[in-house]
Assembly symmetry: C2
Homo-oligomer: 730 residues x 2
């Protein structure tokens, strides 16, 4: 409990400090009385006031107006969550048309039935004072958003629980606030999808992008082409009934479900099940490895389009959303060029490149889906002009993206940009609706700060990404410079074409056990970026609120916190993992595609390793960094003492680890990191306490920091950065 | 980490002690070299030997013989679990007909296809040495049981993982090793059922008793009577497809699924959906409270049997098992006696009591199910003779159960005894197959020890239940005395009629968040009682192994450990709950039906309270009790020091709790318990350290112990018992 006291003290300090700072960063449109606003995503306008609406067992909920029936079910679910949070035994609990407020309660009013579709009005107004709670929205979907805000207003004191008094007017900045979950790499069963939908609803996200098909598997039942799920899924797929169950669950929460069948590349699973679709005859197997592969549908045969017509019509009928994603990314073009018939087809149709051929293919697929009343979405590449991939790459690298755009693609197509801001801007300038995913690739395990500052419509005089993590944004310095120089990149009309963004949970390196900790809590920061005013960019306050939301996400089922200990217990083979946990909390998985490079990872390899237990953007790392920064600013001796205590703790914690780790080879990497930390801690203590600060002592620490910063077991000891900063500036 | 070191030390001491003791208790048929056997349930014959089979990436699995295809899927799942446990990247991972062992591996041989049905051979033989692993079984189900044993043989050392060398011959003592899950009270969705099936498979249980219908809801889809799921389920039910999915998942693991539709009582949900079934006309609603209610099907109308014929035929076709449970318990008879038509029917048919009428009803229902090829099961009452319930109760209380037995009930009916040993013995004596549930009511949150020592066929000279918990076994002292006097209660043939037992997870007071901690790990002790030799009755060794299995149950998805912290974070509203956890680990929910008595608990009230977070039979309580017992035995001053350290820890832990608990009224009970513990701890330290032990000091402690032992928030501070013992015997 020594550590616990330290941690408590540190948390308290953190909050106190935020109290102090909050006034500096507060939005113009947001006023406070003297309390921090704990909401996430932050509403467009909030005014908190003193006092609140006390919650007791008389509390009731009444619904007025003509909203969809789903509001009753969601209000009931809200009621249940309030009971669970407060432990109060309410007198009534089911909200239906007969529910009335007798003594005290929440009144919900909606004018019309909401439709779960792009562009639906999600605004609401929420008033809480000591006497009443009123939630007014144009439709039930807005009301559902408002219920989530209201839940976050629950506070407690010694006499019980209350909703904080507030006046809130809220509506989203972007209409498309999505999360992609890929099913082919590691299959995510229904319970993962449901708890993810609950968590999405909590932070007001409104699109689940359900990625069905890739080289590693095809994951929904097909009655028209049953070999797709029978042969190409390893038995891991959603039945039609389950697809409907998922969609109903999502719609109940005001969340759209957009399916993606990725064609013509990323199609090994389809080809494995139906080899006649292939551009090249070979012995196909499901891919177990990760990457970009050559198998591609043959775009020259009418039988391919007949197949797609039947299949996509079936899938389109399952998913009611007006949008259908056809993928279109990462076609290597190799299989097309290796097939003389396809090369001949290109010649006779005057298609000068594989990109041009893909363009032809896309138009055929769009025509098929239009028959089902669907608009299509595709990744960046679907907009690319007739030219060879290599030539295109040169343009792309030169920052001349505009030259790549194929302007005769039907204008109702939506472009999902994974290549970056340049692609996004170009498509908007050419009149295409777009959503941004570049910068929201949560599978790359970057910081929430990085995602948070990544804006689909960056405003003037600000920087899109923090430089430290911009290493793979090398093509975009031009744009960043233009923004810095205050150049207006898009007209107002063009800006409106940017519908929002999508976080992408590609599941190569996650299983049902770890997916939550890769999505949450960081995606809450993306959800706020897409919902809240563009001017809200205070990273410290975002983290403060994200810490609070993180715990609330658990209550709707997310396992992002609780699975850490479970996995540590498995790896260590023992029940008592406190000392191990203190080290894991300081480790972060290597970022970007570094883990992909290690090609021993496949669909079936273990994802129960140290790198799977460690989570991105560790709270304990941020807290230690805060301690260091505060000390360097204030130079307060007490702060120094608490830093030194922390170092002592790490030394003794390593002692505890040495006792229990002997018999388990799997703990090797963790023990190594712990040893390094203990060793550095001792050197730092000696240095900080020594009366003469020798240059040699400093160099010794900095050299060790450099060596120990290297990944072990795909994990980095992230506190070393702050230790380096402390020593450099001591 | 101070506490962590203490806990580690304590665990190590515990293991050392068990090493010492194990030879005293070891079964005649089990030999060891010098290592404890970590298996649960314990096989009927085990011989461990030094060394083991090293696991490396060459490891492969090959299957020979004519087993069902499910063995390939289970062997693949086993392979995946070994990868997850060991972190090894295996070269191959899918086990199919083509899988061969090239370098090293496991060879599985089965002679024939297993059938998932009562009485199937589940025996297997397992040989592990440094060169090979061989698993031989009559059929694939035996092989699946053997795979679970093999998984538990995984050990680790500094150079990696290995399967412990062993020679094992194993088969179950009882053929019916079940777990009942009731769906009407709190609905348990598919993911709960699936993870429970995985956990059952881990401890070799083989029957899921799926309880569908009661006063609070009807939980599967009905195509013939759709109002059952549409009106009487609150939208919480399994579709036919989901029922099939569950059964397939269970069969894959060699687990039967036996459905129960409880009639003629416990039927409010059916009557609410189809009021013409009722014995009495009234305004029916689903029950939200817990208990025994009067609504009962009308057994005099042919329309009732037509309804049941159509419905039960539909349900019977969904569940392939040859057994079908028709309930039959707790019919109050009141509604029958209040309806003059029913009373007239009884007269004209010479049925002298409501029990006789129910007997008539049962026969009709049995006839219906026999058409679908089903044998029926019922609770105790279905065997009861024509007499009034009150009269029967008198016989029952007098221990004259034999007089209650209705011997013309068809002999193919299986009796599930919830009333106790007497009912079980009587039905066996009268030629009925029986299973025992009395003593396995895990919803009553008793100790694993209690369940463990409760034997369906108690052997001579032993006691069925520890006296301390036998308070509601008041009718059975006769039987216990007979056993103590060495009387043989059943003939060998009669004994064979006792098929096994079933743990019952009635879900009144559990939700999907807490059900796992009510089932596990205690049910592992019941699983061992039903699988392993009757002579295995060493409670200390059972607990040692249960602690190990508990962690392994997590790996197949059980949330019984990880949800504790999650719920504490919700209740406290904060992320750091270490100090709170130290107190919760010492609290146990009130046992038996004490919580039912508090009638504020209903289907919708919060189950997120202290009593839901605290788990039965706390490990920390047992560990402290072990410390006290060892000190009282050895009187070693070092042991006394470590006890005193523990008391100091509780005092300071309470200090930490006071700091963080101020703002939250929900924490009241926990803080109170913590305060009591701190206060007692100080008194105990003073007493233990004082040179003169005053009688007054002792009395003061014992008086406080008495007061503080009372439940607060339905939780008891269980370490007080050991503290009392320490002071009494110091």
């Amino acid at each position: 409990w020594l550590s616990c006291l330290l941690a408590s003290a540190c948390t308290i300090g953190f909050v106190v400090r935020l109290f102090f700072f909050i006034s500096l960063f507060i939005l113009a449109s947001i006023e406070t009385f003297s309390q921090s606003i704990d909401l996430m995503p932050m509403p467009s306008s909030v005014k908190l006031s003193a006092g609140g609406f006390r919650i007791d067992k008389q509390f009731a909920i009444a619904v007025k107006g003509d909203g969809d029936l789903r509001i009753y079910k969601e209000a009931t679910r809200f009621f249940q969550r309030v009971a669970e949070r407060t432990g109060i035994f309410f007198k009534s609990w089911i909200v239906d048309q007969n529910s009335r407020i007798n003594v005290s309660g929440l009144s919900i009013e909606t004018k019309r039935k909401g439709k779960v579709q792009l562009g639906e009005d999600e605004s609401y107004e929420l008033l809480v004072n000591e006497k009443e709670i009123s939630l007014i929205a144009a439709n039930d979907i807005g009301a559902i958003r408002g219920l989530e805000t209201l839940f976050q207003l629950i506070e407690s004191d010694q006499s019980g629980f209350f909703f904080q008094s507030a006046t809130i007017k809220d509506s989203p900045r972007f209409s498309w606030r999505g999360l992609l979950i890929s099913q082919p790499y590691h299959f995510m069963p229904m319970d993962v999808i449901k708890r993810t939908l609950d968590a999405m609803a909590l932070v007001k996200m409104n699109v689940l992008h359900f990625y069905i098909s890739d080289d590693q598997g095809y994951r929904i039942e097909s009655k028209v082409y049953p070999r797709l799920h029978q042969v190409a899924s390893d038995g891991q797929y959603f039945t039609h009934e389950q697809v409907r169950e998922m969609i109903e669950y999502a719609h109940q929460r005001g969340i759209r479900v957009v399916p993606e069948i990725d064609v013509p590349g990323h199609s090994t699973a389809m080809i494995y099940a139906y080899p006649h679709l292939a551009s090249i005859k070979r012995n196909y197997q499901l891919q177990d490895h990760w990457g970009v592969f050559d198998p591609t549908l043959d775009p020259t045969k009418e039988s391919t389009y007949q197949f797609l017509d039947t299949l996509l019509t079936e899938v389109a009928s399952l998913f009611p959303d007006e949008y259908f994603h056809i993928g279109g990314d990462e076609n290597t073009g190799k299989d097309w060029k290796s097939n003389p018939d396809i090369v001949a087809f290109m010649k006779s149709n005057n298609l000068n490149s594989t990109l041009a051929l893909q363009n032809y293919f896309n138009k055929r697929v769009q025509a098929i889906l239009r028959k089902s009343g669907k608009k299509t979405i595709g990744w960046d590449e679907v907009l690319m002009k007739e030219m060879e991939a290599k030539e295109a790459k040169t343009h792309f690298e030169k920052g001349q993206y505009d030259k790549l755009i194929e302007t005769d693609v039907p204008k109702d197509m939506v472009i999902q940009s994974w290549r970056g801001m340049e692609a996004l801007l170009s498509s908007a300038k050419n009149g295409y609706k777009s959503i941004l995913s570049k910068g929201y690739y949560i599978d790359l395990v970057q910081s929430a700060e990085y995602h948070y500052l990544n804006d689909p419509v960056p405003f003037n005089n600000d920087v899109i990404v923090p430089d430290s993590e911009a290493n793979f944004d090398r093509f975009e310095s031009d744009i960043i410079n233009k923004i810095k120089q205050g150049e207006k990149l898009l007209s107002e009309a063009e800006e409106k074409l940017i519908l929002g963004g999508e976080a992408t949970m590609w599941t190569e390196h996650v299983t049902h056990e770890t997916i939550d900790s890769r999505i949450w809590p960081r995606t809450a920061a993306i959800a706020e970026r897409l919902w809240s005013p563009a001017t809200l960019r205070n990273v410290d306050d975002m983290y403060r609120r994200m810490n609070k939301i993180s715990v609330q996400l658990e209550w709707v089922g997310s396992t992002h916190i609780k699975n850490i200990d479970m996995m540590l217990r498995r790896m260590s083979g023992q029940a008592n993992i406190e000392s191990l946990r203190h080290v894991v909390d300081l480790l972060q998985p290597v970022q970007g595609y570094k883990r992909n490079a290690a090609d021993n990872f496949t669909r079936f390899s273990p994802y129960t390793l140290l790198v799977d237990i460690a989570v991105p953007d560790q709270k304990a790392v941020r807290e230690f960094s805060g301690l260091v920064n505060r000390y360097l600013r204030d130079r307060n001796p007490q702060q120094l003492d608490s830093l030194i205590n922390r170092f002592h703790f790490w030394i003794s914690n390593h002692g505890a680890i040495e006792i229990i780790s002997g018999k388990n080879s799997l703990l090797g990497g963790l023990v190594q990191h712990s040893k390094h930390l203990g060793e550095i801690s001792q050197l730092v203590i000696d240095y900080l306490k020594s009366s003469v600060k020798s240059k040699q002592g400093k160099e010794q620490i900095l050299n060790k920091v450099k060596v120990y910063a290297r990944p072990i077991d795909y994990c980095e000891l992230k506190v070393l950065e702050s230790i380096e900063k402390l020593i450099q500036n001591f």
